[in-house]
């Protein structure tokens, strides 16, 4: 069975180096603008930084993928076209794209560029994937995080393209690339602006030891004195429903598929993707090391599971939809 390619997040040049030194085969990163889905302040690469970082990665035997995976604005597509041009000019090995117009531009302007289909395109059926392969020559598809192992197995048999799946990190239970929650509350969309629940709309207010986390005009969570707090991501809000205070959409939890690596390999998955460009260098070094050791050692150890557990959102983990029983 072919080895799984380990694809790690790189929110900065320092993270890129940390990920590759920890054993990543490839990293994915974005420019400092709204063309990628982690457009947070202080994060990402300038074009010169990307060029330098890509050269460094290649010298260390690793690949670099550029995420240009938000949706171009009608009438203002130049930023996305420029992102395609300058990231390829920097020498990246592939582009991760979602918008059909951006895919079309990349295909026409750079016919030899390797294109990957972002999870933001939400392509989870053989027909959808076949469309992108036929029209744009996509070589790899990152699957949405809603498919079971059985569904991925069936899909693999029907598509002629590399498959990449998420193996660790934050979850997004919405139809990826389609969620409008953040736009509704803050006016800024992860799909268009690259940022969900943006920090400029976040405030924390403490009164008598009780901490309220707000996003815009909404209180998304309230923490008792001493209770661990969290970032007010909209879909992970703890809301009052009748008498109960519950996570209505999704609980803070991290996907962790370290115990499914053999399954992915058996299916013929080409690569596993770790989420978290905004999580920092210590995070990426730790998770990459854990997955590298698991891949090279024939399976995860207790130490690797513990290392990942400490970095899980809300201190909790799930294998997500991979072994889903419910419909």
């Amino acid at each position: 069975m072919a080895a799984l390619e380990l694809v790690a997040p790189a929110g900065s040049p320092a993270m890129l180096r940390a990920a590759i030194e920890a054993g990543a085969d490839a990293v994915y990163c974005g420019l400092r603008d709204e063309t990628n889905a982690r457009n947070f302040p202080g994060l990402n690469f300038s074009p010169p930084e990307l060029r330098t970082a890509t050269d460094w990665a290649h010298a260390h035997g690793a690949k670099v993928f550029a995420a240009i995976n938000t949706y171009a604005h009608a009438g203002a597509v130049d930023a996305w076209r420029n992102a395609v041009d300058c990231t390829l000019d920097a020498g990246v090995d592939a582009l991760i794209l979602a918008d059909i117009g951006v895919l079309a531009y990349a295909r026409a302007a750079h016919p030899r560029a390797r294109l990957h289909l972002s999870v933001q395109a939400s392509a989870g059926t053989p027909e959808a994937i076949a469309f992108y392969v036929a029209e744009f020559g996509v070589k790899r598809v990152v699957l949405p995080r809603v498919l079971t192992l059985a569904e991925i197995t069936a899909l693999r048999a029907e598509v002629d393209v590399e498959i990449e799946v998420f193996a660790f990190g934050g979850m997004c239970v919405m139809a990826e690339g389609r969620c409008a929650l953040s736009s509704y509350v803050t006016g800024r969309s992860p799909n268009l602006c690259g940022v969900c629940s943006p920090a400029e709309a976040v405030s924390y207010i403490e009164r008598d030891g009780v901490l309220t986390a707000r996003l815009g005009a909404f209180a998304l969570d309230r923490f008792a004195p001493g209770e661990p707090a969290g970032y007010p991501t909209l879909c992970k809000a703890r809301l009052q429903c009748g008498e109960e205070s519950i996570h209505l959409f999704e609980e803070p939890v991290s996907l962790n598929a370290i115990d499914l690596l053999a399954d992915f390999q058996a299916i013929g998955v080409a690569a596993i993707k770790l989420e978290g460009r905004q999580r920092g260098t210590n995070y990426v070094a730790t998770i990459v090391r854990a997955f590298r050791e698991a891949l090279d050692g024939g399976g995860p150890s207790a130490a690797q599971r513990q290392a990942l557990s400490r970095l899980s959102e809300g201190g909790r983990q799930t294998d997500g939809a991979y072994r889903k029983q419910w419909r």
Partner: protein
Amino acid sequence: MSGWRGQRKGMDGTARRAFDAIVDVLGTAPGLVLTRALRRMARRRPDVFERLGRYQNTLFALDAVDVPLRFLLWPRGEHGAVRVFARGAGGYADATVSGRLDALLAMALGRRDADSEMFARDLTISGDTAALVALRNTLDASDLDWIDLLGVPRPAIKPLEGAVAFAMQAARAAGLH
């Protein structure tokens, strides 16, 4: 920003001793010493301030809730400034991180992840969250810690930790915790 000596006059003996212990490590007129160090760092590492972008104009505060100490940081590159104040002095800040002095120091030294400390409620943030996110991401991307932007030279860190430990002991004795 006003100087710290006037504020120090209003403190009781114990608080003043705690305050002096830390200020002694940083030298006379600590704000000027730290400011010069910050500006030297800006000349060596312009990339840091370029990454910080418009958030260079943010006034950041580190407020200790136990020992009466407050650091103000204005990271405007070669025009940046650092000031040390008694708690409650120094005026408005755009973005503030509050906590026990030892938790602030651990965060400043990069020994504890700021996100984890905040979520564990050892630190509290208020004001411009985006600016704090920008600063946190910039420091991580640049292999720097808050202590570097605050201008504290690395050889001063061990004496500073000792001074903080003394200051916290004095604060506990004075019932300031």
